[in-house]
């Protein structure tokens, strides 16, 4: 559910160029209809890319690669899509899983090939984007807009994985708790709990900024 509009986030409603529903396109794609494959890619690539972009901390190349991998994985497994949930929640689950797998892969590779680097939350960032330790010490009241954005990114990155997934899907992609539960394959209560904890951590961290 989009908190602003109160409408569920579904590209089928938002940006569909074809009158065909997802279910019909999936049926066609199963029998290797190239047009249906293209239509599904057009319909969901921007949203999938946006999710991947957030999960890769703004790495455009990785986001494109993960989006492509997610589509491929989805089309290879179309026969396993039973239609119990909507296609887009099923597909977004694949996108999230591909991104998490990719991140773990990158972390492993990093540990193997660059073992001398200390594991920190900032290791993927270019030097100019890494937070200045002195700036971190000072009150958030005084920091600039750019630094605040950096601080927010790092805080989200430092959240535990499940809290981060729930928070990103809610705050950036406007999914409802019900949809997030489908995507994460977990109970709605668990999603609420992850969301609540993540929000509390961020609220606590940026209390000074708000009060300033």
């Amino acid at each position: 559910m989009n908190p602003q509009s109160g409408q569920p986030i579904n590209p089928e409603n938002e940006q569909s160029l074809s009158p065909l529903k997802d279910v019909d396109l999936v049926d066609r794609a199963r029998s290797q209809d190239q047009w249906a494959v293209e239509e599904l890619v057009h319909r969901y690539q921007q949203k999938a890319y946006a999710i991947a972009y957030h999960f890769t901390d703004g790495n455009v190349q990785d986001a494109e690669d993960f989006t492509q991998e997610a589509f491929l994985r989805a089309f290879q497994n179309l026969e396993h899509f039973r239609g119990d949930s909507s296609f887009y929640t099923w597909f977004y689950r694949i996108v999230v899983n591909v991104c998490l797998d990719g991140r773990r892969r990158n972390t492993r590779r990093h540990k193997i090939f660059l073992p001398w680097q200390s594991p920190s939350a900032d290791k993927g960032l270019p030097p100019e984007e890494r937070p200045d330790p002195e700036a971190h010490e000072q009150s958030l009241k005084a920091i600039s807009e750019k630094e605040l954005s950096k601080e927010i990114r790092n805080s989200i990155k430092s959240l535990p994985e499940k809290q981060r997934v729930a928070f990103q899907l809610k705050a950036f992609h406007g999914m409802s708790i019900h949809e997030i539960a489908r995507v994460m394959n977990t109970a709605e209560g668990t999603v609420k709990s992850h969301l609540f904890r993540a929000t509390q951590v961020l609220r606590e961290k940026f209390k000074d900024w708000e009060e300033g």
Partner: protein
């Protein structure tokens, strides 16, 4: 002023637009009388807005979009090429049952009409080769050559049987 300790979760859910109608009604009433909860709710809304603004998602470029589509189609084509053509043909919907029915019909037809042709009694004689025919001719010649001896043998057998009968009387 601090928010009510038992309202933290409600404030978060309200900020995300996740309260059900009854909870929402209750929250709206509480909000008007509790400045602590109201301030916390408004501060949280501002923070969430700021967080959303801090990481804007760039539009997927046209080049990126077409590259994704091209790669997906290419990989799917490769994937399909790996499967054998007959599996592909058979597994298409609506083909398996007719294919099996046709195969059964062919087997039954062959069984019915082919059995007579394969196992008919004339078949071995018709199929005698030249070697077997020669062997039969040689055996007949040998019988003709020894016909006198065979006739004598027959006479002796008759004599023996007469003697046996006399002895038994």
């Amino acid at each position: 002023m601090k928010p009510c300790p038992d309202r933290h979760e409600t404030i978060v859910l309200a900020a995300y637009g996740e309260l059900d109608p009854e909870q929402r009604r209750d929250w709206e009433q509480h909000r008007t009388v509790c400045p602590g909860c109201r301030d916390e709710y408004e501060a949280l809304l501002r923070l969430l807005g700021r967080i959303k603004e801090s990481i804007p998602v760039p539009e997927l470029s046209e080049k990126g979009a077409s590259s994704i589509l091209w790669s997906v189609k290419q990989d799917l084509r490769k994937e399909r090429g790996k499967r054998s053509w007959w599996k592909e043909w058979i597994l298409r919907p609506g083909r398996l049952v007719p294919a099996l029915a046709t195969a059964c019909l062919v087997l039954i037809t062959l069984g019915w009409f082919g059995a007579d042709l394969i196992w008919s009694p004339e078949q071995p004689q018709e199929s005698l080769g030249p070697i077997t025919e020669n062997q039969v001719v040689l055996r007949d010649l040998e019988v003709i050559k020894n016909i006198d001896f065979l006739e004598e043998l027959e006479t002796l057998q008759e004599l023996a049987s007469v003697l046996d009968r006399r002895e038994s009387i």
